[in-house]
Symmetry: C2
Subunit: 106 residues, 2 copies
């Protein structure tokens, strides 16, 4: 397991924080498919995901245009619709420009 | 359980992604204390945290100065030192300016 590697600054982060409803309703399969599909998009740089009480997915992108193109991808638009109607109680999306980063490894 | 509420744009996010070492070594107690202490700092706006394979903590701040002041807080500096020596295999910190946000609630 690795933390997402990202290139030289600046780049963009999409911070997706969510609270799930009860039950799977096809969420896990779609989520995995979306992760794979996102990774194939132009401008995709990496993603990290964790869930316990809340879920946090942070995906990294070259620029705002890449984010917009992924947002408008047909399969993703369909998944986002199901997110609102079937999977999430609440979510928040934040688009942020990464201005500084540093890391530590043993 | 709630997702962090944040005010009008722009504000800043500190995205902390980490891989833990085995064992607690005082991590949980310190982590909880740091969350409480951070919440008392000037410019603190909110925080979300989740861990499964990786841990992701995203804290929100009014401006870069608030982030810098929290970084230099004596108790936090000590905890950050223990993070490198005892708790983490690897981590990455990204400081980002949130430029857009939207939310959904049922």
């Amino acid at each position: 397991m690795m933390i997402a590697e990202t290139p030289e600054l600046p780049y963009y982060a999409v911070i997706f924080t969510s609270l799930r409803r009860e039950g799977d309703q096809g969420y896990e399969a779609t989520s995995e498919h979306m992760m794979q599909l996102a990774a194939q998009q132009p401008g995709f740089l990496g993603v990290d995901h964790a869930r316990d009480t809340v879920g946090i997915t942070v995906s990294y992108w070259k620029d705002l245009e890449s984010i917009k193109n992924w947002r408008n991808h047909a399969d993703h638009a369909q998944a986002r619709h199901r997110g609102r109607s079937e999977w999430y109680k609440a979510f928040k999306v934040r688009i942020a420009r990464v201005e500084r980063d540093y890391e530590f490894k043993i």
